[in-house]
């Protein structure tokens, strides 16, 4: 394909690589290796905190799958995507200072550390670790496939080669640099995402002859495209609203978000991150999905949703600028993958190995384990991604909803409800995941139960399970 497109992408990859490498050199000894490697020594400032949250959250589905669906469905899908603005302030306000204070008090490095200390229960820790490893591993694989596919479609390289390039660029800096490298590269990737979104939006509006002209084209084709109900009129208010749980408030329960909520250095950093995070999340979600819809009159007839953004960028922009813009989805995928990789690694090293297998391991062993597990995990994901499973969004959302149903109440009520205890937490996690899987299969076979997204009922059921479990077995107030 066009060499002009490839050059900016290569520059981007080298730049990310360099930043990750430099960040890895900054690992000072303070707070011990684990705190440094998996939590960046709790030193994140406001800008980096906001960007790493947005970038970790914003993934292939924000830049490829989501706009691709908006292309097919119309404005109804942008409405749905805008439920994500809430994540910008909700996660930090709800987990808030209490999570950061307790995290320090318990000396927690991972979300599981927090749960283990709060509920004083190894069983809670092991269940959480299993859930995180299984679900986030599948989410990560889906993102790698997305990354490989994107490089493949942009460069014309073989999928295997493309995936290899992607894997190497992520693996090296995550393995040697840990959380700080992930957060710093996320900040740069977040900035690339914002710039790419803005440039492409302008390009698409110009190519379409202005917003009113684009709108007229859409109405002429199918007036339902500009309604909230989708191109075929099947997007119901209940279904779209249930995304407030899946990609809105439920995000509080995601381990990759929660761990960031204890990584900041001060209240002031958190306050800044609230503002920046809200603005950046909303800006990206609104405009990327608008681009998806606006692309429709410009390039009708694209069959595969994930290809809408790459194709429209190549169509409306000069090659070098398209390269800059297409670094954005690349950045989104990389910044999600790097966080997940480190999180799964921390679940294995910190939560399983150090908690249950060898608590007395020496600092050197821990170091070797951390580097080793992160690296090996990356290689395993690479091998899985070679035989790519279909339906990228599907896997992604499955991991999302399952983890939310499992963790939202043990984390949130563990913070704020003194009667919450380990019985409630265990019952809640099991109920959440089991219900999610059961309802997922029911919905696939029979259509959505009650007309809402799969995640809705499991979240309600796991709340009931948490309260019942906590009060029924042993009602005892916890002193924070």
């Amino acid at each position: 394909m066009n060499i002009g497109v490839i050059i900016p992408l290569v520059i981007f990859l080298i730049g990310i690589f360099a930043i990750g490498f430099i960040a890895s050199k900054q690992m000072s000894g303070e707070g011990g290796f684990l705190q440094q490697y998996f939590l960046g020594g709790r030193e994140l400032g406001g800008f980096v905190l906001a960007m790493t949250m947005v970038a970790t959250y914003g993934s292939a589905s924000s830049f490829l799958g989501g706009p691709g669906t908006a292309y097919t469905v119309g404005f109804g899908w942008i409405l749905l995507a805008m439920t994500q603005v809430v994540t910008g302030y909700f996660v930090l306000l709800i987990l808030g200072k209490k999570f950061a204070i307790l995290g320090r008090k318990y000396n927690a490095v991972t979300m599981i550390d927090f749960l283990k200390a709060r509920y004083n229960s190894p069983l809670v820790a092991i269940l959480s670790a299993i859930a995180i490893i299984v679900f986030l591993f599948s989410a990560m694989t889906a993102q790698w496939v997305g990354g490989g596919r994107l490089i493949e479609s942009l460069t014309g390289l073989q999928y295997t080669t493309a995936l290899f390039i992607f894997a190497i660029s992520v693996l090296v800096y995550v393995t040697i640099g840990g959380f700080r490298a992930v957060a710093l590269t996320d900040a740069v990737q977040g900035a690339v995402m914002v710039i790419g979104t803005l440039v492409l939006l302008i390009g698409v509006i110009i190519a379409g002859g202005g917003v009113p002209a684009i709108m007229q084209d859409l109405i002429n084709e199918n007036p339902r495209l500009v309604t909230p109900y989708g191109a075929d009129g099947t997007l119901t208010a209940a279904y779209v609203s249930s995304f407030w749980i899946l990609v809105g408030v439920g995000v509080v329960g995601l381990p990759q978000m929660a761990v960031r909520a204890m990584s900041y250095k001060s209240s002031r950093a958190m306050h800044r991150a609230l503002v920046i995070g809200t603005i950046v999340t909303g800006f990206i979600m609104l405009n990327m999905h608008l681009i998806g819809v606006f692309a429709r009159p410009i390039m009708p007839g694209i069959e595969i949703g994930d290809k809408v953004i790459p194709l429209v960028a190549l169509e409306v922009l000069p090659p070098w600028l398209a390269g800059v813009v297409l670094a954005a989805p690349m950045a989104a995928i990389m910044s999600t993958v790097d966080s997940l990789l480190l999180l799964v690694s921390s679940a294995i090293v910190k939560d399983v190995y150090l908690n249950f297998i060898k608590p007395e391991a020496s600092e050197t062993t821990v170091k070797l384990m951390s580097f080793g597990v992160t690296g090996i995990l990356g290689i395993i994901v690479f091998l899985f991604a070679l035989q790519p499973p279909e339906l990228l969004i599907f896997l992604n959302l499955f991991a999302f909803g399952g983890l939310e149903a499992a963790f939202i109440w043990p984390v949130v009520l563990g913070l704020y409800w003194k009667y919450g205890n380990k019985y409630g937490a265990i019952l809640s996690m099991i109920t959440g995941i089991a219900a999610y899987i059961a309802i997922h299969f029911y919905n696939t076979a029979n259509g959505n139960l009650l007309g809402v997204h799969t995640v809705t009922l499991p979240v309600v059921l796991s709340l009931a399970a948490y309260i019942i479990g906590s009060l029924a077995v042993k009602r005892e107030a916890y002193q924070f």
């Binding site: 805008m82 204070i101 924070f480």
Partner: protein, 107 residues
Amino acid sequence: MSRKQSDNTRTTDPRFKIAHREAIIGIALAIFNFIWWFGFAYGLGSRAPEDYTYIWGLPDWFFYSCVLGFIIMCILVIVITKYFLKEVPLDADPSHIDQPKEGPTKQ
């Protein structure tokens, strides 16, 4: 960690009171956000498409719900962060909490 605390006399960390208040602010913001988003989207959007008016070229329901709604949420978050959230130290040792060491809240 000792788990034996039968007395209610031990005062809880005063920082947690602030944290609880801020969590409630978070919930209030989300509820407001949802009502705004839902109200305009389905209140205006359920009309026939030919009755829509267009603002900045966008359908009115969408403009109010998603564009204006987003701008308003940004403003609210900025105002709340500036005037309603308190800066507290985050250290595990709460002995010096009476004097927030990070300077005045508003500036």
